[in-house]
């Protein structure tokens, strides 16, 4: 039988992998926007804080940050809960994983978004303001739509790295695709079959992502002529 009937179980793991990736991406986008705003703001304190954030993340392996936040965060939160007179709080791997991955990739997205915003000619935002648009309206109508085009390549890259990084969450006990493959290979004694199977699924997910994001990039670059050599 194909995969000894474990395919549904693995696909359920895939759902968990995709859910973690999607939630982490949303969190990373928030961190990325805040970080980019801080780096581009005139405030010195915000610049230093954002630089410290991106430097720290780039200096550490994802796995170490994951363990630090999962186990360290657990202790910190329970110390606080203890002080507040609450009972034991258990952080589940889903929450710890998405927060950590969001925090890590938020640092990379900070750089992506910062670059994308800087790539838009300043005159455009000035022109918008000259028409009496509010700062928020300039951001929504002028900066954001054009930023997408510049941000997509870096964004695609980060998304691909992040999907692959979710595999590490199986180490802190998330019931994802890798964990399902671990269980299935222990039960059937055919580890290669199952790890190859989930490898193929990861490859399918990254391939689809590349195709979709490539289409989005073309869609947002419609008005821009390519250089022809």
């Amino acid at each position: 039988m194909f995969l000894h009937g474990y395919l549904p179980a693995i696909l359920e793991g895939l759902r968990s992998t995709l859910a973690v990736s999607a939630v982490s991406l949303a969190i990373a986008c928030i961190f990325g926007f805040v970080g980019a705003a801080a780096k581009l703001s005139g405030s010195r304190a915000a610049n230093i804080a954002a630089d410290a954030y991106t430097t720290l993340i780039r200096g550490l392996p994802e796995l170490v940050l994951l363990l630090l936040i999962f186990y360290g965060g657990q202790i910190m939160i329970n110390r606080l809960a203890d002080r507040a007179g609450l009972g034991y709080i258990d952080i589940n791997p889903f929450i710890a994983g998405t927060t950590t991955l969001g925090f890590i990739f938020g640092a990379y997205l900070t750089e992506t978004f910062r670059g994308a915003i800087l790539a838009i000619p300043r005159g455009q935002a000035e022109a918008g303001q000259a028409y009496g648009m509010s700062r928020l309206l300039v951001l929504r109508r002028i900066v954001l739509p054009q930023m997408v085009r510049h941000a997509i390549p870096g964004f695609t890259n980060n998304w691909l790295v992040m999907i692959k990084a979710t595999a590490l969450l199986s180490i802190i006990g998330l019931d994802d695709m890798v964990h399902r493959a671990n269980l299935a290979s222990a039960a059937t004694r055919e580890p290669f079959t199952f790890y190859a199977a989930i490898g193929a699924i990861y490859l399918a997910v990254t391939t689809v992502s590349i195709l979709v994001l490539g289409w989005v990039e073309r869609r947002f670059s419609l008005g821009v002529r390519k250089v022809e050599f």
Partner: protein
Amino acid sequence: MIDWALIAESLPAYWKGLQVSLILMAICVSASFLLSVPLAIARVSPNPWLAKPVFLYTYVIRGTPLLVQLYMIYFGLAQFEWLRESAAWPLFRNAWFCAWLAFALNSTAYTTEILAGALRQTPNGELEAARSLGLSTASIYRRILLPSAIRRALPQYGNELVMVMHATSIASAVTIVELTRTARDVYYNSLAPLEAFGMVAVFYFVITFTLVGIVKLLEGRFLKHLRPKSADIRPTEMTPA
């Protein structure tokens, strides 16, 4: 709040872990560099029989998680009886060999793409000049294309070195006692996560920025000709949008 005694006591263990991490990194990086030079040449070759298989290899490796690749080699290969009975089995039973193989294959894929990208950026005139001087293809690669491509690839290659360094932490998943495994052991014995993982974070941080510093020095040496001539020419000041 911080248990300094625990940190002092476990420092020798971290020191050992550091050596293991660095050795693992060094053998992976040297293997992947040696492999990726010929692969990058094949990748940019006009002959599809050379270029396509290399593309397939880098695509598959870059599209799947390193952890899964490592599991496939370390846990997965035991599934095949012919391998278990072959002379190579003592190698594949060894966590060190498997981690080395997985990391080297993984890093080779990324390094190949970096080098291939740098080769493609070669100005056409350089190639034409070399051909018009009657240099053979081999010496064009050895004398002209590779030296300049490797220089151009240096900044990205530096990133790849940092990635490999960070990837060695994944070896902790297959019983190798490198830095991360040391931290996990310290944590399991003391249940003090902030000390155990905070300490290892300091180690990784120092190694990462030492690597970054070395690459910067190399860039200063090998990319000197690309620096702006006068001190006045600086990248434009970043201004808020």
